[in-house]
């Protein structure tokens, strides 16, 4: 009778789900992609899902990517939804990242730093040219890459801890002393953001924020809607040992390690109006996985929002409410997607308003022309 199905919603969904699954398998004879292959061969994408999903579960993150056909937003969303079913078991004490097992560590502030610069794996100085031979990569050559690398490792083991660049600057009195970490941090998974929010809430929100969202807002600051002008004091990527209090003794025990990216940006000193000694200012960014753009963008936004404490927000990237309520990928993606759902009741109401307004408008026009 009409396009509005009186029945059939459930059946249509079932078929749509089947078709989506069939997309993975149709039109080719490739083997199903292995969870392990996703985790190891797409570690950057995988890390992004871990970070935006806000749950460090490497196997489920890889499964989420497989199930979502490679959509990082959908994959992070699956991890988040799974997280809702899990209780909070313990609170970690603050962790020192100087104990990170590093794979990469650089500073743009000094030519050399205590412990040394370590370039590590980075696409920064890669010429973005295709390696056409990878289109058809032989399993043997693929395995040889790892063997060749491991066979040439230097004998000397790396130090287990590297001093932090910012600690040296603090020692010289060029940076403010670290704020004391006393009291429970704000847990964004157990309390909503009601502004103003403490810095721990802001950092936690950005740590699982969407990379593109953080980048866009930070870039607005870099371009001129703001003036952070950051220097990368230190950027480090590596494995951070996680220590949890023992459920009985309360003693800290190492429960495992997580791959993290951390960035501290240094910005110019500001008039705080307090008469204190001027010092450089800091912005901090950290997230799960290897995601340098996210860590840097987060550090810039942390700085820009802190700057607004003294004088109020002067542009979008300095306004905590503007930044923190718009960088979550799960929320923004969900709301964007929801516009595809039926809205015919509200549209009927819209039509009613427009038609009534139009008829009044018409009557007025007629009155005016009659009067002439």
């Amino acid at each position: 009778m009409s396009y509005v199905a009186v029945r059939g919603g459930a059946e249509a969904i079932a078929q749509s789900n089947r078709l989506l699954d069939a997309l993975r398998a149709l039109g080719g004879d490739s083997a199903p992609i292995e969870i392990d292959a996703i985790e190891r061969q797409m570690p950057i994408l995988h890390g992004r899902v871990l970070s935006e999903g806000g749950l460090y579960h490497p196997t489920l993150a890889a499964l989420a990517l497989k199930q979502s056909l490679g959509d990082p937003l959908e994959a992070a969303f699956m991890l988040r939804a799974y997280r809702s079913t899990q209780p909070r078991l313990a609170t970690m004490p603050p962790h020192e990242t100087s104990g990170m097992r590093l794979i990469r560590r650089i500073s743009a502030a000094f030519k050399d730093i205590p412990g040394g610069q370590m370039l590590g794996p980075t696409p920064d100085y890669l010429q973005r040219l295709f390696r056409f031979d990878l289109i058809e990569e032989e399993p043997q050559t693929f395995r040889d890459i790892a063997r060749g690398w491991l066979g040439n490792l230097p004998d000397a083991a790396l130090p287990t801890s590297f001093p932090k660049v910012v600690d040296a600057l603090r020692g010289e009195g060029l940076l403010p002393q670290a704020e004391p970490c006393d009291g429970e941090p704000f847990d964004i998974t157990r309390a909503p953001l009601v502004f103003p929010v403490p810095r721990s809430a802001s950092l936690a929100t950005m740590a699982r924020g969407e990379t593109g969202g953080l980048l866009a807002l930070a870039y607005s600051n870099m371009r001129g809607y703001g003036d952070v002008h950051p220097t990368v004091g230190e950027l480090r990527v590596g494995y951070l040992p996680i220590e949890l209090p023992h459920p009985v003794t309360g003693e800290l025990i190492e429960a495992g390690e997580v791959l993290m990216t951390e960035c501290e940006i240094i910005a110019m000193y500001e008039d705080t109006g307090t008469g204190d000694k001027p010092v450089f200012t800091l912005g901090y960014g950290a997230c799960f996985g290897h995601n340098e753009v996210k860590a840097i963008a987060m550090a810039i936004l942390d700085r820009s929002m802190q700057a607004s404490l003294a004088h109020g927000p002067r542009n979008p990237s300095e306004d905590p409410e503007f930044v923190l309520l718009h960088v979550d990928g799960i929320e923004s993606m969900g709301f964007c997607t929801h516009y595809k759902m039926p809205h015919y009741i509200t549209f009927q109401s819209d039509l009613d308003r427009l038609r009534t307004t139009q008829s009044k408008h018409q009557a007025r026009e007629k009155e005016t022309s009659d009067a002439r």
Partner: protein
């Protein structure tokens, strides 16, 4: 490492959410009922359906459902619309034992998007709304921090100004749905995107109305027997959607012939429009009750 990966995958418990989350939701719900129309902030867990698809309503419903409940889910007034079907499938999966119904009269909890059922709800029924924007003030003030202050002081001057400016520009109030409604003489709520048609049903109802905004992390309520007044001027009365035709007759539903329901307008390929009840259950019940009258009318 390998062994860990082969472990049997985790399954989900009754009501999906962990028990602490449900407790928190119930506390927020009690507070919302105690302060009618006040938006209670709550943590809002991520659900396995997308933000914007009713995660707020879903969390409220999951916190309410026990195995002696009968649940009904509607979207645009329909039980079988894709989103309603999807939510019902989810309840069946995570709330084993809970009965499902499409009959309004049989339900103890009804989750809805964009409609209030036509049939008056009883005092043993709860209607749970899915809410995209929990704050009526968002049309005049983007900052949540400022809006909180305005609500505290019951300062709705800018909303009144918006209504007045509409009158100046269009000689009509242009708010079509989500019509700002004052609860118990203090807080003004966004009653969710229900049509104006449904707003009067909020006033002095027998049932409990609960509103869940998942993405915006707010819960609010209109308890039974509570005054709910849509904002209007004494000389510009609040008006619901108009379903009279060009001859001044009230349009009837093409299916059940009812002339007292909210109608969906269905444009046909031939340019002819059909009108049909949006509340499918009510329409079906009406059609059942008056089969003779219906057939004689549709034959005419």
């Amino acid at each position: 490492m390998r062994a860990r990966r082969r472990r049997k995958p985790a399954s989900y418990g009754f009501g999906f959410l962990d028990e602490n989350a449900k407790k928190e939701l119930r506390r927020a719900l009690l507070k919302a009922v105690a302060i009618p129309g006040h938006q209670v902030p709550y943590a809002s867990r991520e659900m396995p359906i997308a933000r914007g698809f009713g995660t707020g309503g879903l969390q409220v419903t999951l916190a309410l459902l026990g195995d002696d409940d009968t649940v009904k889910v509607i979207d645009q007034g329909s039980d079988v619309s894709v989103n309603a079907a999807n939510l019902r499938k989810f309840f069946a999966l995570v709330c084993p034992g809970v009965r499902e119904t499409t009959r309004t009269a049989d339900a103890t909890v009804i989750q809805t998007r964009h409609r209030i059922p036509e049939q008056r709800l009883r005092d043993d029924q709860i209607l749970v709304f899915q809410v995209p924007y929990p704050d009526a003030l968002v049309v005049v003030e983007p900052s949540a921090a400022k809006r909180r202050e305005m609500h505290g002081a019951a300062n709705y001057a800018r909303l009144w100004t918006k209504l007045y400016e509409d009158m100046v520009a269009f000689d009509e109030i242009t708010i079509s749905h989500r019509y700002p409604t004052r609860i118990a003489g203090h807080y003004v709520i966004d009653p969710s995107p229900i049509p104006r048609w449904d707003v009067p049903k909020l006033n002095m109802a027998d049932c409990l109305y609960l509103f869940g905004a998942g993405r915006e992390k707010r819960i609010y309520a209109v308890p039974p027997h509570t005054p709910a007044e849509p904002l209007s001027f004494s000389d510009v009365p609040f008006r619901v959607e108009d379903f009279t035709d060009e001859h001044g007759h009230r349009r009837a539903c093409a299916r059940c012939r009812a002339t007292d329901t909210f109608l969906d307008e269905l444009p046909g390929a031939d340019g002819v429009k059909t009108y049909q009840c949006s509340d499918i259950d009510h329409c079906t019940e009406t059609a059942k009750a008056e089969p003779c009258e219906r057939s004689s009318k549709s034959a005419a």
